[in-house]
């Protein structure tokens, strides 16, 4: 079976001390800048000392969905339950084209332990909140999908709750 090489895999191999000596606020921030060509891995004080190999830190999948303005993509009946509503919104703007919208590694640090309804998978760039059969899914690129909401109001209430919770993880 192959290995999914992603930002997260690379992060896992990183020092993860968030000491700040590199001039970035966290290891995640340095890695992100490295991929954007704005920082060098050598800025990390542990990097050479621990014998990391730069080639191991391959570039992750690029965000493609960010050349748009924030917008509601659609509001429609659920595919398998026409009584309920599904809504998709895109939050990302050009601003996020480099790093994506949500940073799921930070999201995991924020919620990983404390909120069992919120499942976060940094390796997939995905956060999922489920309650009473309703589900909200957020993707790192800035798309949010609300499924099985009772109605449109409910959908947007869930959306705003989701965004408020993940606010600390917005790039």
């Amino acid at each position: 079976m192959i290995n999914i090489k992603s930002f997260y895999d690379n992060y896992l191999n990183f020092p993860k001390t968030d000491c700040g000596y590199c001039g970035c606020t966290s290891c995640v921030a340095l890695l992100r800048r490295h991929y954007a060509g704005e920082a060098s891995l050598s800025d990390c004080i542990y990097f050479e000392a621990r014998g990391y190999c730069k080639e191991d830190f391959v570039s992750p999948k690029h965000f493609t969905n960010t050349k748009t303005e924030p917008s509601v993509s659609y509001v429609s009946p659920c595919p398998s339950d026409a009584e309920r509503v599904t809504v998709e919104v895109n939050l990302a703007s050009d601003l996020h084209s480099k790093y994506g919208y949500f940073d799921m590694i930070s999201a995991e640090k924020l919620f990983g332990q404390s909120l069992p309804e919120m499942k976060i998978a940094p390796s997939l760039g995905l956060a999922r909140l489920e309650s009473d059969g309703e589900a909200v899914m957020g993707f790192a690129e800035g798309r949010i999908l609300i499924r099985r909401a009772l109605n449109e109001n409910d959908a947007f209430w869930q959306l705003s709750r989701f965004i408020r919770w993940l606010w600390g993880a917005v790039n």
């Binding site: 079976m1 499942k119 998978a121 995905l126 999922r128 589900a135």
Partner: protein, 437 residues
């Protein structure tokens, strides 16, 4: 013997296949055919949709279209764009010729005579035509199964309601296997028609259609096979099955949408009534009478989907050039890989036959309590893997056989899927199961 002949043509010229003589010879010696090679990387070059690194695992819903088929359809629009069977000018004649050539190719694919091939839009239309054309009446009986697609199932429900004929539905066990004894019980002398899929579009299970046809014929019943999922993927021979009707769709076998076929046994062409009549179906018309044509033309009212039918013909040629046995063996290899991989993923429930050899390349599953739509969406967004989710137009299977109220996720493979597609799919699925379920 040490000869290796690789006949690799220009993809656009429709000559795309590889023969490995060495392999074939040794296989002939051991009397085992059907394990020949398909050069999947060469096949992939023919599919423009794949050029962007997409992983398409939804061929059960509809297949991708290769360049030779696209070019053939454009050729019609560019070179001989005229109606068929009507004009006497050159372009119309070429169009008619190409249209009939397509009929030949499609017939050859399932070992039927061209006269027995009715060209329609899709499987659903074929089945509807049969249901309305065989003059069902009160006292008759229709036999079908829980495995059917809605296009086969509800058509018979309506036919039964309209005509007063009884409807008997044969059930399946939890893996989708059906018991021949149940058919023997269900089919009696009042049975007018037995309608069964050759491959289930949810479970991938392959009912014993030949044996079912035999039982039906012993009671004088007609047999309709829904070949939507079998014709594109395996060597289907209507004579060997012994069926009276077989419906299939061009869009699931590398053809365009909007063209399909219905095989109808020659002797029945006269007896079955057409669904639509009009231009192209008549021999003579007066003010107070009309006389329908004989043969397949009687069922093909109005201007057909000419480009699409010609495209479907090109698709049939394309598949036959690759070799149906090669296709089957390629998919069987992928199937083994998928089943083995899925079994290793924690929290995953795979529906349908456990044994890879007993299923087609269709895999329905669920991961933990994750909703199938969420799972499908995640596969798409995180890895570009396209799979279907929901009830797959077969609610009787979902409700009665596998009892998964939200439906399932369904992945399926075809000629253009390679091991790498499968591995990425499995790895992503494993990650989802680990982090989300």
């Amino acid at each position: 013997m040490d000869i290796n002949v690789a006949k690799q043509g220009n993809a656009n010229k429709n000559t795309l296949f590889t023969i490995d003589l060495n392999r074939k010879c040794s296989l002939f010696l051991s009397l085992k055919i059907g394990d020949w090679m398909l050069d999947v990387e060469l096949v992939r070059k023919d599919f423009p949709f794949l050029k962007q690194g997409r992983i398409y695992l939804d061929s059960t819903a509809t297949s991708l279209t290769p360049e030779p088929v696209l070019n053939k359809m454009l050729e019609y629009y560019r070179e001989y764009r005229a109606n068929v069977g009507r004009g006497i000018y050159k372009a119309s004649q070429i169009a008619t010729e190409e249209f009939e050539k397509a009929r030949n190719e499609v017939s050859r694919l399932i070992n039927a005579k061209p006269e027995e091939m009715v060209l329609l839009r899709n499987t659903s239309e074929g089945i509807n035509l049969v249901a309305s054309g065989i003059k069902l009446k009160k006292g008759d009986k229709i036999v079908t199964t829980t495995l059917e697609h809605h296009s086969d199932f509800i058509v018979w429900q309506r036919a039964s309601k309209r005509s007063g004929a009884a409807l008997k539905v044969v059930g399946a066990d939890s893996e989708g296997f059906m018991n021949l004894a149940d058919f023997e019980k269900a089919i009696d002398d009042s049975t007018k028609i037995v309608a069964v899929s050759q491959v289930s579009n949810v479970l991938g299970v392959k009912p014993p259609v030949k044996e079912i046809a035999k039982i039906a014929h012993e009671h004088g019943a007609l047999v309709l096979i829904d070949g939507a999922q079998s014709v594109p993927h395996s060597k289907v021979d209507v004579k060997a099955i012994g069926c009276d009707f077989l419906a299939f769709s061009g869009h699931k076998m590398c053809g365009p949408t909007g063209a399909g076929g219905l095989y109808m046994r020659e002797l029945l062409l006269e007896e079955v009534e057409p669904l639509c009549i009009g231009g192209g179906t008549i021999e003579d018309v007066g003010l107070d009478y009309y006389r329908l044509k004989k043969g397949a033309a009687k069922f093909e009212a109005g201007t057909p989907a000419i480009a699409e039918v010609i495209g479907m013909g090109a698709a049939a040629s394309y598949l036959m050039k690759l070799g149906m046995l090669e296709i089957e063996s390629h998919e069987q290899k992928l199937t083994k890989r998928v089943v083995k991989g899925l079994e290793e993923i924690p929290n995953l429930t795979l529906y349908g036959p456990k044994e890879p050899a007993k299923r087609a390349g269709i895999f329905s599953f669920n991961v933990g309590r994750l909703h199938p739509h969420d799972l499908a969406m995640t596969l798409d967004v995180t890895a570009g893997v396209m799979v279907r989710s929901g009830h797959h137009c077969a609610l009787p299977v979902i409700k009665e056989v596998i009892k998964a109220p939200n439906g399932t996720v369904r992945a399926s493979v075809y000629i253009y899927n390679n091991n790498q597609d499968i591995d990425t799919f499995l790895a992503t699925l494993e990650e989802i199961s680990r982090t989300m379920a």
